[in-house]
Amino acid sequence: MATSDLKLLGGWFSPFACRVQIALSIKGLDYENIEENLNPKSDLLLQSNPTYKKIPVLIHGDKTICESAIIVQYIDEVWKNNATSSILPSNAYDKAIARFWVSYIDDKFFNSLRNGLFAQDDESKKKYFDELEEVLLKLEEVFNKLSEGKGFFGGEKIGFIDIALGCYLSWLKVKEKFTGTKMFDEAKNPGLVIWAETFSAHPSVKGILPETDKLVEFAIAMAQRLAAAAAAPPK
């Protein structure tokens, strides 16, 4: 199947774009990676995602697909290949469980992490990071149940939940730098500690997650922009 008609509108800093890159890597697909600056947003982005104007967007020939979790499922369904590279489970119930936890990660995990990192005051920061701790306890439980000792949320191989959570590892490292506490507590999340290493070392993931130092610089600049916007007088 011709894969030269695949383009990804993404950003090196975006965990959502990383999800798509990892999925494409698992399937062994070639694609053109287009770095979006977002400041200003390119015409291509505005045209291909008019509803949200956000990255990532996958362009496959004349088709555009938006929303990272939806893109990953699209990739999995188009390039069914063989069982060893399938991302979602084959059984309907297991698929539902995977989709449920990805939805949970996109809601609870993402919001606690993002709000905690960019909170303007210490009290809010603590509140969000406490929430994040609760979320991680839950995900540790889920990991132990679904991995069955085999290394990934997807069992023996990387699955939908692994990709959905693993894309945030670099941002969790940013949190480590900002707060001075480890991203996964060894006592409370021993499973996730090991999972993070296994995931990062996987051949389909290597080279995709952004370097921590570069991301820290990016996060500091973003925090400053948000603080300035919050302090600016209303127009």
Binding site: Y52, I65, E67, A92, K95, A96
Partner: protein, 222 residues
């Protein structure tokens, strides 16, 4: 008719005024699947609800042969994959991606905008209404001249848009707003009439007078 299986048990924990809960009722009816329904009182959650949805403690929850699934969009896909008659999701990956995108956009962007407008106070009203109209405009551009979002037959997006097809008319009446009208959004309006008159959907929607009374009572408590 879905294949009969004596061992099969399908349960739905729901709330009759909730559009999210109703989505599952509509899907099961479209598939012709029999199920046991439990009405949940969210002020006094049942042991079953806490057991089957410990993460969110919300409805709807589908329990199939003792296996629980929560989150309406996740449940809808499960239903379509498990009972393969009267499909409401295409087999084509791109069509599926589009259906998933529009369902998500309905839940993340469109429903909240309209809901907020209907419950907004005087201070925030103008802005909330503007956002609600923008949201409806997104749908107007998407439905185009199709009979349903799913084409000739009810699809995932139509089921997800039950709030637009049925609840909005009632809520906007209570709020004294004109959001979805035939003049402002002729295509979405036309779709809403096709939707609520569909023979199976019609049977699955809660009675209008009861829904109106329910939301009027909620409004008076604010």
């Amino acid at each position: 008719m879905a294949p009969a299986n004596q061992e099969e048990e399908v349960r739905l924990l729901g709330k009759w005024p909730s559009p999210f809960s109703n989505r599952i009722v509509l899907a099961l009816k479209l598939k012709g699947v029999s199920y046991k329904y439990s009405e949940e009182n969210l002020a006094n959650k049942s042991d079953d609800l806490l057991k089957y949805n410990p993460v969110y403690k919300k409805v709807p929850v589908l329990v199939h042969n003792g296996n629980p699934i929560a989150e309406s969009l996740v449940i809808l896909e499960y239903i379509d994959e498990t009972w393969t008659n009267n499909s409401f999701l295409s087999q084509d990956p791109y069509e599926r991606a589009l259906a998933r995108f529009w369902s998500k956009t309905l839940d993340d962007k469109i429903l909240p905008a309209i809901w907020n407008a209907c419950w907004s106070d005087e201070k925030g009203r103008e802005k909330a209404v503007e956002e609600a109209l923008e949201a409806l405009n997104i749908l107007e551009n998407e439905i185009k001249d199709k009979k349903f979002f799913g084409g000739e037959t009810i699809g995932l997006v139509d089921i997800t848009a039950n709030f637009i097809g049925y609840w909005v008319e009632i809520l906007q009446e209570i709020a004294g707003l004109e959001l979805l009208t035939i003049e402002k959004f002729p295509k979405v309006f036309k779709w809403s009439q096709e939707f609520i008159n569909h023979p199976v959907i019609k049977e699955g929607l809660p009675p209008r007078d009861e829904l109106l009374a329910f939301f009027k009572a909620s409004a008076s408590k604010k």
